[in-house]
Symmetry: D2
Subunit: 279 residues, 4 copies
């Protein structure tokens, strides 16, 4: 099968060594592939090298399958881990929520404005509260009774990315394994402080002066997955728990949107339970 | 003894009830005392009322001692806790440090610019690194070998406020008791996350995207005292621990300065291990 | 007619003088009216005093009409300007837009979540693009051809507050006069920099490192009315004008929401083309 | 003369075309030069390509002079503008001030802490107020009567970078020409708003809710040079002009420090009166 792409994202992780950039960019140059942006990072502790290249294939003198082979040869030589992504292909996103509507609205509005490169075919919930949103935006709504129903729904809808937009349920382990680094959760606290339920109440009782929200990939340990984005807002003694919840909504939707956008644009590399988010 | 003041700060805490503001402001009005600012807060959970009044005594028709009596009668009726402060009187501040110079410089520069209403007669350290600062700013320097020497030094210098500007030592319990809500510490982490030593390394290893600093009053439990100010700065995967330390210095000095300033201006009320910081 | 209210907001502006707080709070105390919050400000340049009181009338021993008389007598004595507001009464808000949907969605979502104390009966536009939103949220949509149609629509719908959510049209002067300090505009620039059209292009060409948005009341002079809220976001050389527009949307909706909320909660006092926004 | 360097910064600007990165990194690879970081930018409007490479010469198989030749040949082919910088060489910085001490203190403290890679041999002022600082930090102090004295002083002290730390004087045109993109000014306003004197008073009178500071290179037109950094702080109706000045100091020193640091680390490229500041 011949794969046709206009643009390509190349991500490569390998032990740090000389000449990586020269070798990979020389291949692209030889193939008349134009680099649109290049971002690299060296982790001095781990002696690891990370690169993300966005390139334009319009004038390439080679098919993607041939390019794949050439770069894979280099990758083997570098002892690396290589992935290609098609940045113009739309991912299929499932949004899971409970009762909170604002982060879901935000994703749908951003998608409608063309700010998120994806399809959002389904909203899933264990409640009926969010059905109105699915009607407003003409999206299929799955009211589930049990998380065991999830995997089937994901499979039927060819879901690439699962977004937990304040979904107050534990995701089954088999789904976490199958969708490794493909489930984004929004936690309404500044992790690693205030894990678990009711982070705003915890923050209120502690008397902190800043509250936060954290978007992260979901791993088996609750609220411990690699962090993608965080944002904060100042509070003071006047803010009740309810006012903190209101204020917090603004930063929750913000970090969730940014995390989803970075994921869809293939800007994230995960290593050691941490992330590189190229900007 | 007759106390003469130009201005006065009145702080009152009492069970919430009707007419507190009317009664206290009526006393001031009768005494021809002009209110410059009034800030109040009701804690709906605790049913507690908090008020801070800054008043001008210039045209008062009454001596302070008489005013004290009148308001104390009201305070007893309200079942409250009343304190008076003289906002123009300069507090004596002791700065304790170890090797880090930046937060100390900052306090001295702000004081020199007239931004802090205090004297800073002494710097205390268990090292010699900060001696140069004491020379530059012509301040007595105490190099101590043991924290048991501290209390004597505080007493001899009539210290009102103790500032721990990255003083990496545990303060003896008798000092904490004697200087209750009069010891301000700067912790180089976003409490309650990252307590204890090396918060930046903890943050690096966790892979957070924001780091913070916290100014708080010192209590017997390490890094658990009432929080006064917090500030944060964004980081990403490129920041090494050392770069986080560099970046962090900027927010550390900032929250410490703000906390010291609010304390010196009698803007802080402590309750339930939390603070009200009037602005 | 007897007006029945649960709560009341009292705003008073007068020349600064002694005893204002004592006199007004004493009236409330005598009437068994409980003060929920009190905020005051003295402008030392103008020698003006501003106060906002939120009070609970539940246990009052007096009807509103009587209270009005009592406080009006005081107001005359103080040579002041007094206004009463019913904080539980919902204002009628008209939203005007052109093609940009995000700030409108945001207001509707916040209203639906109970974060805005108002009705939003109508959306008005000179285009059809926003009609879909009015359908989604079941709100009347007026497609107008001429701004002269506006006043009639406002009158028919008893509009209290007009919100220009990126409405790229000049509002007729008679409406500005009739709705003085009742028309809120969002300008997508950091006023007073970048007035007029295309502020993001202006910012791009100037090479600024921060862009902003400004919510303000509309006056006869374009983009010169009293400022209510401002917010900013960092940019750099990588941001194209279109990316600045995308980023800017986030702060535009944010300042507009905050401004509308403060207005609806009667937290704003205008003087000298500037605002006091109590928090 | 043979130039010996441990590390090198290469900056190249040229018309955008294919293969730039491949060609330049291949030269470095052939010479066994290790790339530590690479940052590039394409300006789609101007069709210009910008790159900054930081490389380690430790294991290079070539002298700098030879490398210079090789890359210059490429540069000619690309029709580019090429500059090399030695990142470990310390620049000589002159600080000019008037009365304001805080931004000067800040630069000296950051230098002392090792956060600024430079020498600061001289402070110049048209007043005596800052002499105390030069004594504290053991730096030569020049009290000048006329800006015509400046150039001589710069020449005698081999000054590479001139920092205007609130120097309220117009710099002579011949100095601006000679030190093109080597004079950094801190303006205490959010440019392009509030140019000229008393920006805080202008901001106060306009009633803005955010104030800012701007670091920029000095050009012949006052406050119009390419912007390097900007920062802001929220204010409200309570802030007097003097309180705005106090608050503003914190952001002024911050943007000045960041701008000086980026300049010293050769992270800035100027084009079209705008800047690329690599991070």
């Amino acid at each position: 099968m011949t794969i046709i792409m206009d643009k390509i994202v190349i991500q490569l992780i390998c032990p740090d060594q000389q000449g990586i950039i020269a070798q990979i960019t020389s291949i692209l140059y030889d193939c008349k592939i134009n680099i649109l942006s290049i971002e690299q990072h060296v982790d001095d502790n781990e002696k690891k090298f990370y690169i993300r290249i966005l390139a334009d294939l319009k004038n390439a003198n080679i098919a993607f399958n041939q390019l794949d082979k050439k770069i894979s040869v280099l990758n083997n030589k570098l002892n690396g881990k290589l992935t290609f992504h098609n940045p113009t292909k739309k991912s299929n996103v499932a949004i899971l929520g409970t009762k909170e509507s604002e982060p879901i609205y935000d994703l749908l509005i951003k998608k409608k404005a063309g700010d998120l490169n994806c399809n959002i075919p389904i909203i899933i919930s264990n409640h009926n509260n969010l059905k109105i949103i699915s009607k407003q935006f003409d999206i299929a709504y799955y009211k589930i009774n049990n998380n065991n129903e999830l995997l089937d729904i994901f499979n039927k809808n060819n879901i690439d990315l699962i977004v937990l937009a304040r979904y107050m349920q534990i995701i089954p382990q088999n789904i976490i394994e199958q969708y490794k680094n493909k489930i984004i959760n929004i936690h309404h606290g500044f992790l690693p402080a205030f894990k678990g339920p009711n982070p705003y109440r915890q923050a209120f009782e502690k008397g902190v002066k800043i509250i936060g929200a954290t978007a992260h990939y979901v791993t088996e340990e609750l609220d411990e997955g690699p962090i993608l984005y965080q944002d904060v807002v100042n509070i003071n003694h006047k803010h009740s728990v309810n006012e903190m919840i209101q204020l917090g909504r603004g930063i929750e939707r913000n970090v969730l949107y940014k995390a989803v956008k970075a994921h869809l644009n293939h800007k994230i590399i995960v290593y050691n339970n941490k992330t590189i988010v190229f900007n």
